[in-house]
C-alpha cells in the first residue's frame, strides 16, 4: 500500500522528464522545422553533424570548458576552503562574500561583465583607456572569447564550490587535524594527508557533476557571445538552440542534444559506480 505514495513522483517524472526525453530521441531521426509535419530521415541528422565543422568546434569547446572547470575552480575552492577551516575569525563573513556571486542571476552577472567591465565605452576597460591602459575585450577575439566567458562563469562559480568543500571539511574529525598539527604538519601536508582524503567523496561528486554541468553550459555563453565571434565560443547547447530556434532544424538540434546527453550519461555512470563503491557518497 505504501508504494502508492510513489505515484505522484512517478507521474511527474514520466510526464515531464521521460516523455520529452523519448520525444527528443525520436526527433533526432526526423527532419522537422517545429511547425509542419516531421519527416523520418534515419541517421541523416547525425551524418550532417559529423560533417559540420561547427559541431566539432562546439564539442572541442565543451571539452576545453570541462577541463577548465575540473581544475581551476575546484583547485582554488579547495585551497580557500582549507584556509577557512584553519582560520578562527571572519569565517562567516568570508563565506557570505564567496557565496554571493552564485545568488546573483546569471543574466545580471553576464550583463555586468559584458557592459560594465569589458565594454570599451561603458565599462571599466573603457575607463582605463583614459589613463593609457589598453585592454582588449576578450569576448571580441576568436582566440579568447571562450576563455572570456569562462572567466566570468568561474568568478560566479568557485565560491559555491568553496562553501561546499568547507562544509565537507568541517566533517573531518577534529582529532585528525589536531593530531596532524601536533605532529608538526605544514599546511600543504595537512591538505595532502588529512583534509583531501577526508572529503574525497565530496570532491569526486563535484567533479562528476562538473562534467555534467560543463556539457550543459548555455546561459553565460548565450548571453555574452551567442557562440561568436565566428563560432569561436560555440558550445553544444548553444548550437542546439541555434539549430532549433533560428535554423528551424529541430531534428539536427535533437541529435546535438543527444550528444550532450551521451556525455552526461557517461559521467552519471561513473557517479553511480563511485556511489556503489563508496556506499556513502
Amino acid at each position: 500500500m505504501h508504494r502508492l505514495y510513489l505515484i505522484p513522483t512517478l507521474a511527474i517524472n514520466l510526464s515531464i522528464i521521460l516523455l520529452p526525453a523519448i520525444l527528443t530521441i525520436a526527433l533526432a531521426f526526423f527532419r522537422w522545422d517545429g511547425i509542419s509535419q516531421p519527416v523520418f530521415v534515419g541517421f541523416d541528422n547525425f551524418q550532417a553533424l559529423a560533417g559540420d565543422r561547427v559541431f566539432w568546434r562546439a564539442l572541442t569547446n565543451n571539452i576545453i570548458w570541462t577541463a577548465i572547470f575540473l581544475t581551476i575552480p575546484i583547485g582554488f575552492a579547495l585551497l580557500v576552503a582549507s584556509m577557512l577551516l584553519l582560520i578562527s575569525r571572519g569565517r562567516i563573513l568570508l563565506q557570505v562574500i564567496f557565496f554571493l556571486p552564485i545568488i546573483i542571476a546569471t543574466v545580471i552577472t553576464a550583463r555586468v561583465w559584458q557592459g560594465m567591465i569589458f565594454n570599451p565605452v561603458s565599462g571599466i576597460f573603457g575607463w582605463l583607456e583614459q589613463f593609457g591602459i589598453h585592454l582588449t575585450n576578450p569576448l571580441t577575439k576568436t582566440a579568447t572569447s571562450l576563455y572570456g566567458v569562462a572567466a566570468v562563469d568561474l568568478w560566479h562559480w568557485w565560491g559555491f564550490l568553496a562553501v561546499i568543500f568547507f562544509a565537507a571539511l568541517r566533517q573531518v574529525p577534529a582529532e585528525q587535524i589536531e593530531a596532524a598539527r601536533l605532529e608538526g604538519a605544514t599546511f600543504f601536508q595537512m591538505l595532502r594527508y588529512v583534509l583531501l582524503p577526508g572529503i574525497k567523496s565530496t570532491i569526486m561528486l563535484m567533479m562528476i557533476m562538473t562534467v555534467i554541468w560543463s556539457f550543459l553550459v548555455f546561459d553565460f555563453v548565450f548571453i555574452m557571445t551567442r557562440g561568436g565571434p565566428a563560432y569561436s565560443s560555440e558550445v553544444l547547447s548553444t548550437m542546439a538552440y541555434r539549430l532549433a530556434f533560428y535554423d528551424l532544424n529541430v531534428g539536427k538540434a535533437a541529435a546535438t542534444a543527444l550528444v550532450i546527453s551521451l556525455f552526461g550519461l557517461v559521467a552519471t555512470f561513473f557517479y553511480i559506480r563511485a556511489q556503489a563503491k563508496d556506499g556513502d557518497l
Partner: protein, 435 residues
C-alpha cells in the same frame, strides 16, 4: 466539398458578416514595448477600436523578445492568439504550409486591402496563391551621416561606392571611424552589411535571380560583393569596437564625432532625439551608395513582422477588424507621430495621413522616398525578409568567419548556396514578388 459542408460554410460566413460578435475577446501577442509604447497602443488602438466596436475587447499580451518561439509552440498546440504576429514572411510560409493560418483573401476583398496596400507587400504575404499575412511595418537600409562633420571637412554625401571608399579612407587617416557599427546586443547587425553589398554591389537584379534559384549565390557578383565587405572590414571601416558596442552605443558615436557615417536602417531614427537633441539638422539619411553601373540609390526592403489570423481563431472577424484598423489612415498618423520607425504600415497613399513630424522631418522624407521607390519597383532585398531561416542565420554567423579569415569568401557563399537550395526544395523560401 460536400453539399452539407458548403451549407455549413455558407451559414458560418453569413454569421461572420456581423462583426465583431457579442462580447468577443480578440487576443494579440505583442513583443517588447516600454510603458510609453504600451500606453500609445492602448490610447491609439485599443480604446478607439473598442469605442467603435462596443462588444469587442482587444487583449494585448506583451510577450517580450522571445515572442516568435512562444508563438511557434503555441500555434503548434492550437492555443495561439487570434492576431498572429510572425517575425517575417519566411515564418508565414512555414505556418501556412502547416495549416496554422487563415487565408485572408476574403477579408482583403471586404476591406479593400488589395487597393490600399503596396502590391509588393501583398505578394510577400502569399503562399500557394492565397494571402496569409500583411506586413506590420516596413523598413530599409541606408546611410546616416553627420552633416556638420561633412561640412567641416568639405565632404559631399557619397552616391557611389568608390566615392564612399575615398571618404572612408580619408576618415581613417584623420582617426575617424568611417562606419558607426556594433553588434554586441544584436548579432543580426551583421546581415545589414551583407544585405547592403548584395544590393548595392551585386545588384538587385542578381539578388532577385538568386532568390528565385535562377543563379547560385556563388556567382561572381556575390563573390565581388562579399570580397568588398571583407576588404572594408580589413581596412577598419567598422572600427575597433564593432563586437563590443551595442547598436545604440554605435549610433551614439556618429553624434560625438568618433564616427562619421552609419550604414543602418530606418529604425535608427528612434535614437535621433536622444543623441542629436537640439541639433537634429546635423544628421541626414540617404540611400546607400551603389557600384558603378547600378541605379542609385537602391533601397533594400525589409519587413519587421507580419499580421495573420490563426486558422482556429474563434474571433477571426474581430481580428480582421483590428488588423484593418491598424491599416487605417488615423492609426498610421497617430502612431507614427509618437512611435517612429515601428509602425510604417505599407499604405499606398499617404496623402490623407497626418503625422506630427516633431523635430525630425528626415524620417518622414525617408519613408516617403522609400514608398515612392517601392511603388516604382526600385527596391532591393534584405536578407531577414527574403531568405529562409537557416540561410538567413548562416549569413549572420558565417560572415564573421569571413571577416576573421577562418573561411574564404567562396566557401562562405558555397555554404549559403547549399543551405538555400535545400530550403528552396523544401518550400521554405518566401514568395518573391516579380520585379
Amino acid at each position: 466539398m460536400r453539399p452539407a459542408k458548403i451549407l455549413t460554410a455558407a451559414i458560418a460566413l453569413g454569421f461572420s458578416a456581423t462583426l465583431p460578435a457579442a462580447g468577443e475577446e480578440i487576443s494579440w501577442w505583442y513583443e517588447n514595448a516600454n510603458p510609453e509604447q504600451r500606453r500609445a497602443l492602448d490610447e491609439i488602438l485599443v480604446q478607439p477600436f473598442e469605442a467603435s466596436n462596443p462588444d469587442a475587447k482587444v487583449v494585448i499580451d506583451y510577450r517580450g523578445s522571445e515572442l516568435d518561439k512562444q508563438l511557434r509552440i503555441a500555434m503548434l498546440s492550437g492555443r495561439g492568439p487570434d492576431v498572429v504576429m510572425t517575425p517575417g514572411p519566411a515564418f508565414v510560409a512555414s505556418m501556412a504550409q502547416a495549416g496554422q493560418l487563415m487565408a485572408l483573401d476574403g477579408y482583403a476583398e471586404k476591406y479593400g486591402w488589395n487597393d490600399r496596400l503596396l502590391p509588393v507587400f501583398l505578394e510577400l504575404g502569399r503562399y500557394d496563391g492565397k494571402l496569409y499575412a500583411l506586413p506590420k511595418t516596413y523598413e530599409t537600409l541606408g546611410l546616416f551621416y553627420n552633416t556638420k562633420m561633412f561640412a567641416d571637412n568639405g565632404w559631399q554625401a557619397p552616391t557611389t561606392i568608390s566615392e564612399m571608399e575615398t571618404l572612408a579612407d580619408e576618415m581613417i587617416a584623420k582617426g575617424i571611424v568611417p562606419f558607426a557599427a556594433g553588434n554586441a546586443s544584436w548579432q543580426g547587425t551583421n546581415e545589414w552589411y551583407v544585405s547592403l553589398v548584395w544590393n548595392s554591389i551585386a545588384g538587385p537584379e542578381n539578388t532577385y535571380k538568386a532568390l528565385k534559384g535562377e543563379i547560385p549565390w556563388t556567382s561572381q557578383p556575390f563573390v565581388d560583393a562579399i570580397s568588398k565587405l571583407k576588404e572594408w572590414w580589413d581596412k577598419g571601416y567598422f572600427g575597433p569596437d564593432y563586437l563590443s558596442l551595442t547598436t545604440e552605443q554605435a549610433f551614439a558615436t556618429i553624434s560625438d564625432g568618433r564616427a562619421a557615417m552609419a550604414p543602418t536602417g530606418t529604425w535608427s531614427f528612434q535614437w535621433v532625439p536622444t543623441y542629436f537633441d537640439g541639433r537634429e539638422d546635423e544628421i541626414a539619411f540617404i540611400g546607400f551608395p551603389s557600384a558603378d553601373g547600378l541605379p542609385a540609390p537602391i533601397y533594400p526592403l525589409g519587413i519587421g513582422s507580419t499580421f495573420s489570423i490563426a486558422a482556429n481563431s474563434d474571433a477571426a472577424d474581430g481580428a480582421a477588424a483590428v488588423i484593418d484598423y491598424i491599416f487605417g489612415d488615423t492609426f498610421y498618423g497617430a502612431m507614427n507621430s509618437v512611435w517612429k520607425g515601428e509602425w510604417n504600415t505599407p499604405l499606398r497613399d499617404l496623402s490623407a495621413v497626418s503625422i506630427s513630424e516633431g523635430k525630425i522631418p528626415q524620417y518622414g522624407e525617408a519613408m516617403s522616398d522609400l514608398a515612392s521607390a517601392v511603388d516604382k519597383n526600385q527596391y532591393g532585398y534584405t536578407t531577414w525578409t527574403f531568405l529562409p531561416p537557416a540561410t538567413a542565420n548562416f549569413v549572420i554567423q558565417g560572415i564573421e568567419e569571413v571577416w576573421f579569415g577562418n573561411v574564404s569568401v567562396e566557401d562562405y557563399l558555397a555554404q549559403i548556396d547549399e543551405t538555400f537550395q535545400s530550403e528552396l526544395a523544401e518550400g521554405k523560401v518566401p514568395a518573391i514578388p516579380a520585379r
